[in-house]
């Protein structure tokens, strides 16, 4: 007999988190004080802009669930973006350029994972190191200049539409569905929970825990490679500092979404809420002409408020 509740597994509807309420309150406030906020184009914009962040935040959720962290994501995204631009300019082939970006991202992710799993290095310091390497390489390759002229085939992935729907939205939805399936319906996903929740139990169950841990980081790197396609398409160029520091927004989105940093306590759909919350906040503050440095302050406040709501809920 088919179980109708199966497809809904893992959404966690029963525990509507602080992020959902905050999203509602924040959207309502922007709708009131800013004229341009509730507008089809603007809302689509929020969605499109959030997609790049989502592509980082989804795997970041899995990495944080293993009690790890990946600080190199923004830098790897940037490096993958300039490589993608360079290949696209030189060969004119989008698929070749994308393949290069994916391979580069996955290689960085694999290196992070291998250092963490095999050499037992702390994830924080390891990925801080690879962050330096990736951001430095991006500057070296480009000579600190933008690589322009990537061509319309690349730009299509941000500005184009399929059946009337912006392409980045399609990519974002597809990425979420794939990651959701991966986390909740596969062995790999089950072991992600176990890596953070009880790694020794996983090992005693005869599972090659290290291989899966490396897989989690490699997945993160590959997703950063995919995000590079959208980023390059959005700015029509490869820019050597385009996404430096974006891991901050990604980690913030995951934390706001209710994933805790211990015991494998993660919630993927919460990350979507967290990403939208960060996106709405940035968009609304832009409409209100708040300088971007102050927006970072606002995101910081948002994280703390979200964690406060969660800890109050826990105590209740």
């Amino acid at each position: 007999m088919a179980d109708l509740t199966l497809p809904l597994r893992g959404f966690g509807w029963e525990r509507i988190p602080g992020a959902a309420y905050m999203l509602a309150v924040l959207s309502a406030s922007f709708a009131l004080v800013s004229n341009g906020f509730v507008d089809g184009t603007n809302l689509a914009n929020i969605g499109m802009q959030s997609t790049i962040l989502l592509l980082l935040a989804l795997p970041m959720t899995l990495i944080l669930m293993t009690e790890g962290i990946d600080l190199s994501m923004g830098a790897v995204l940037t490096l993958a973006s300039v490589v993608l631009a360079a290949v696209a300019v030189k060969t004119g082939s989008v698929s070749l350029a994308l393949a290069g970006a994916l391979a580069l991202g996955a290689a960085f992710g694999f290196a992070n994972g291998a250092l963490v799993a095999w050499l037992k290095l702390p994830p924080f310091v390891t990925t801080l190191g690879t962050m330096g390497i990736a951001s430095g390489l991006a500057l070296v390759i480009t000579d600190a200049q933008s690589i322009t002229g990537v061509g319309d085939d690349v730009v299509f992935f941000y500005a184009g539409k399929l059946a009337g729907v912006p392409v980045p939205l399609l990519i974002g939805v597809a990425a979420y569905l794939c990651t959701h399936w991966l986390l909740y319906q596969t062995r790999f996903g089950t072991y992600v929970f176990a890596l953070g929740g009880n790694r020794e139990a996983l090992r005693l169950a005869g599972v090659r825990a290290n291989a899966y841990l490396i897989g989690v980081y490699a997945f993160g790197g590959a997703m950063a490679g995919l995000a590079a396609l959208l980023l390059t398409a959005r700015i029509s160029a490869g820019h050597p500092t385009a996404a430096i520091g974006m891991e901050f927004d990604a980690i913030a989105a995951v934390a706001i979404g209710g994933t805790s940093f211990e015991k494998g306590n993660g919630w993927l759909f919460g990350t979507v809420l967290g990403v939208l919350l960060v996106g709405v906040l940035r968009n609304g503050l832009n409409l209100l002409a708040v300088p971007s440095s102050l927006q970072v302050v606002a995101i910081g406040v948002l994280i703390i408020v979200a964690l406060l709501i969660e800890s109050v809920k826990d105590r209740a």
Binding site: D3, L6, R9, Q185, T186, R187, F188, T190, F193, A194, G196, G197, N198, E200, A201, L202, R203, L204, A205, G206, V207, K263, G264, N265, G266
Partner: protein, 513 residues
């Protein structure tokens, strides 16, 4: 489940012969400074419940870990149905049908019941890498039904109570179609009714030919379900007998042995001084309750009991590390309420069980550690003077004979015994009147143990009061003037110098009327 039943039936068919289902021969395992197992042999027959008994640290846990592949034996061999086999990893053990129900749970908190039961053995779905959740939950429901556990297989593990988690752990072992099941104190978290249900389950498995190794501290249970009893002491097998041929008293005698130890004899305290610590009806957030105890100046008072009886919790509550919820704690007549800093001001010193984590800053120097708790007393103005600090530290190093090249040596490079002395030195500086030692000889070699006892003796001679927590019954008997015994988070008895023997302590500490 049909598959399980088949395997079990198979086990019955060929388990009845004379060849044991599984045999351990001459297993030895040592760790730095400790011979955990010393030539232990054990036979396990199909359909038999083989009880493993022993004091804390007798080697039961090590034996289990060797059996399940978590540790590798230094020496010895395993025979499965008379044939030599190797167990080098957890998967080797699983392949032989060995499943262990660990005391510390091997569950993942944010996976659900079914996912935990089938961790590492998920039924594959149609897409490669996928999991057939429908089948997994159906099989999990069958298993839980068998155990009489009414819980939703979709419930996340961390939302379940300890007893339910224990039963899930058992379901996990059963799902592995185990032929040899190891249960490590399975009833420690269960209520009477749940234990009865577990025993019924054990009998059912027995009739299906599963062999079980059952570790327990509860003697009554041993006679209720055991077919054979093996007693371990100090890593050696000291006896293997049938329940009908023995009595609880005889078992306790075997566990304790007759360890004659004349290397140390202290002059016991004849006339204790004023009351230093007085506890009346204390209960604490960490679970201990009904704690009454008194420690006087010049006395060494033992606090004994089995691991998990609540001794460390008492120490933590007294020190203010865990919240006291009821009752009264007085130090030298003054009420002691609040955080550890107030405990220190009142003259209380805790030498914790886990000195590496709670007692010492390992990567700092000997001198820094000695001064840590008394900086405010030595430098009341807040200006630190390295020279003055070194003078104080050197004096303590000399006084306690700490073997260190100097005050600047890193504490982590010292031996266990000397690290312990550094902790004591730290509190001597802080002018402590009451010392609580939690397992002071844990992981310390024999020679250093004597020095630690001499040190404790020296403390009480100077008028300090000492509360000593120890699992080593022989140590309690040897060192203490009096002892309190704990069981299930309460104090269940007090023994005077003359009443105190290893037997009398163990009898109070165990479930043995």
């Amino acid at each position: 489940m049909a598959a399980v039943a088949e395997t079990l039936a198979g086990a019955t068919r060929d388990g009845g012969g004379t060849v044991p289902l599984f045999e351990l021969r001459d297993i030895s395992k040592s760790f730095p400074g400790v011979q955990a197992l010393d030539g232990v042999s054990l036979e396990i027959r199909a359909g038999e419940v083989h009880v493993l008994l022993g004091e804390n640290g007798a080697g039961k846990s090590s034996l289990m870990k060797v059996l399940c592949g978590a540790y590798q034996a230094d020496k010895g061999e395993f025979l499965y149905r008379g044939e030599r086999v190797a167990i080098r990893s957890p998967s080797d053990a699983r392949a032989l049908g060995i499943a262990v129900i660990f005391q510390e749970f091997s569950l993942v908190p944010y996976l659900n019941v079914a996912q935990n039961i089938f961790l590492g053995r998920e039924p594959p779905g149609r897409i490669p890498g996928g999991v057939d959740h429908g089948r997994m939950h159906a099989r999990a429901r069958e298993l839980l039904h068998l155990l009489g556990l009414e819980v939703d297989t979709r419930a996340l593990i961390h939302t379940l109570g300890v007893a339910q988690q224990q039963l899930v752990e058992i379901a996990k072992a059963l799902s592995q179609e185990a032929r040899i099941l190891v249960l490590d104190e399975p009833t420690s978290a269960l209520s009477g009714r749940e234990s009865e249900r577990l025993f019924a389950m054990i009998r059912r498995l027995q009739s299906q030919g599963v062999a079980m190794i059952y570790i327990s501290h509860r003697l009554a249970e041993v006679f209720q379900i055991g077919d054979r009893i093996t007693v371990l002491r100090d890593g050696r097998k000291v006896g293997s007998l049938k329940p009908k041929d023995t009595t609880p008293d005889a078992l306790v005698g075997l566990m304790v042995g007759r360890k004659v130890d004349t290397t140390y004899a202290r002059q016991y305290c004849e006339s204790p001084g004023e009351v230093v610590l007085e506890v009346r009806g204390m209960a604490a957030a960490n679970g201990v309750n009904g704690i009454d105890l008194v420690v006087r100046a010049g006395e060494i008072v033992g606090l004994s009991g089995l691991v998990g009886a609540g001794r460390t919790e008492v120490a933590r509550a007294l020190f203010g590390a865990d919240r006291v919820t009821a009752g009264e704690v007085r130090i030298l007549g003054r009420s002691r309420i609040g955080a550890p800093d107030r405990a220190v001001r009142l003259g209380m010193a805790l030498v914790p069980e886990n000195r590496k984590r709670e007692g010492l800053a390992l990567i700092r120097s000997v001198g820094d550690n000695i001064l840590l708790a008394s900086l405010k007393r030595i430098f009341p103005r807040g200006w630190f003077s390295p020279a003055a600090g070194a003078t104080v530290a050197k004096e303590r190093i000399r006084q306690l004979r700490i073997a260190t090249p100097g005050t600047r040596q890193l504490v982590q490079l010292l031996s266990g015994g000397n690290q312990q002395k550094v902790v004591v030195a730290k509190w001597l500086n802080a002018d402590a009147k009451l010392f609580i030692f939690d397992e002071p000889t844990l992981g310390i070699d024999v020679g250093a143990k004597e020095e630690i006892f001499a040190l404790i003796d020296q403390l009480v001679k100077r008028g300090a009061a000492v509360l000593m927590i120890s699992s080593e019954l022989s140590e309690v008997v040897k060192v203490c003037d009096r002892a309190y015994v704990m069981r299930d988070k309460r104090i269940v008895g007090e023994l005077s110098r003359h009443e105190m023997t290893e037997d009398s302590i163990l009898r109070l500490a165990m479930h043995d009327g």
